[in-house]
Amino acid sequence: MPLGIIFLGLYLLPTITSLYYSTQRWTLFDTTFVGLDNFIQFLQDPFLLNGVVNTFVYAFLTSGLKVTIGMFLGVLLMSNIKFRGLIRNIIFFPVLVSTIGIGITFQVLMKPDIGVLDGIVRLLGGPDVGILGSPATAIFGVILVDVWKGVGLATVIYLAGLSSIPQEYYEAAKVDGVTGWQNFRHIILPLLQPATNTVIILSLIGGLRSFDLIWAMTGGGPGFASDVLASLIYKQYQSGFFGLSTAGNVAMFVLILLLIVPLNKFLKSREVEV
């Protein structure tokens, strides 16, 4: 398979060599063997813990919200309400726009005082938010935008899943006289499991290693308050700590692996039961 060659050559091979570099002090120009020093130094990073916590919060929250909202919108758009084609297009539109563009725009929209979002909150009688400016809330501001941008994709995946559910199931349910909620809970939800799995795996992995939106909106700030693992690693790379950042990547990979592999098994097992 030509694809296999491209993939193995251009992705896997460099990835394996990066394992070697993670044990080197690597300035891109010279390498010096330092054993596990890079890993030790990476684990001693004073902001690592905060970054790990943020990574989990970010990944689980975005993926949870995308599953819930995406499924809701999918079901809604499969029902026979008016304008559903239009609504679907509107929801999907942000997926088409560049992350950098979205980041810049929301940075402006989320400004306190002059920002539109805070204006809406004030209009509803809420306090000044300035969500990106406070160390405690900045990460949640980015999470909101991530969900906003990505929920269209989740919706489309659900729509595809819903459309592949054979009509007989609905018919059978109708004959049995089940109500809407039961219908959803016992028929649609289990049959949607493959779609749910796809959304979970994609958005969870995406969330665990993503940082482009964070980078565009807060740069990990204020200070290091909204840094996630991937942005910390990027900061190392940018500082010229190439070996260190490679070691960080390896550490992140192990972390994701420990999380995703059991989860994948679990999700697959539920699929089979259906």
Partner: protein, 277 residues
């Protein structure tokens, strides 16, 4: 039946209003500010431009850096078309084989795909490799890089779809005696249509909106991609928000056109699926 018809309208209108509020308002903000003067755009207010100069801004966006945006469009579109075509074609075949064949090889391939999703690609070793092959910085190598980096994601979405297609369909074809390439293009490919369209749209978005990889793998003059044009108007010290917003709008247009072309097919594909069921 009247009441259900009314309900369709009421719920539909309500859902439309909410989605417009949540998803369209930010773009209205972009569009309004894209028509303002530099000074007015700096106020970031949600107001009608006092001095409407959308055309001037559009011209400025196109003229910036000696019409860089035109070169960028050419590069990005060429890159997107080539890499997405190859990627989607091969990924569809690969996922079909992985999903249908089973066994150790498929398990292994599955694991690799998962790894591919998890580890961010290693930039510098990839550059070294391309240099060793003597193709670094060439357009074809950029295509290969985009293909390699998006393989995992594409296979992932194909596989989850293929697993929902009943095996009997293609097994019947094998009994009929169709060869495997023939089988694939005549029988399987049409079945994949809905997910094919999705894969094309998503990969196009990824490749077209990719900022980092072209920056590293496609250096040199005249090779800018559209995302880089955003930096014409935003530097460390100075940001022209009106032009920046205009640029965001302009570089989104190709994706909107692409979406409009394929969108009908998504709907068609889905309805087909529902009816077929």
């Amino acid at each position: 039946m009247r009441s259900t018809k009314n309900a369709r309208w009421v719920w539909g209108s309500f859902a439309l209003a909410v989605s417009v509020l949540v998803f369209v308002v930010p773009f209205a903000f972009i569009a309004l500010n894209a028509a303002k003067t530099r000074e007015e755009a700096q106020l970031f207010s949600f107001s009608w431009p006092q001095h409407f100069q959308a055309w001037d801004n559009l011209v400025a966006v196109f003229e910036a850096n000696e019409f860089m945006i035109l070169r960028a469009f050419t590069n990005s579109i060429a890159l997107t078309v080539f890499s997405v075509t190859i990627l989607v074609l091969f990924a569809a075949m690969a996922s079909w084989i992985i999903e249908r064949r089973g066994g150790v090889a498929a398990k292994l391939a599955n694991g690799l795909v998962l790894i591919g999703l998890m580890i961010p690609p290693a930039l510098v070793p990839t550059i070294f490799l391309l240099q060793a092959l003597g193709i670094y910085g060439t357009f074809p190598s950029m295509v290969l890089v985009e293909i390699a980096f998006n393989t995992s994601f594409t296979i992932m979405i194909f596989r989850s779809f293929i697993s929902t297609i009943p095996r009997e369909l293609d097994e019947a074809a094998i009994i009929d005696g169709a060869g495997s390439l023939q089988l694939f293009f005549l029988i399987v490919f049409p079945l994949l249509r809905p997910i094919l369209v999705t894969a094309i749209i998503l990969n196009s978005v990824f490749v077209f909106n990719d900022f980092v990889n072209p920056l590293y793998f496609l250096p040199g003059e005249g090779t800018e991609t559209v995302q880089v044009t955003l930096y014409n108007f935003s530097s460390q010290y100075l940001t022209d928000y009106n032009l920046l917003f205009m640029d965001i709008l302009v570089i989104t247009i190709p994706m909107v056109i692409m979406f409009a072309i394929f969108n009908k097919r998504i709907v068609a594909g889905m309805t087909a699926g529902a009816v077929k069921g």
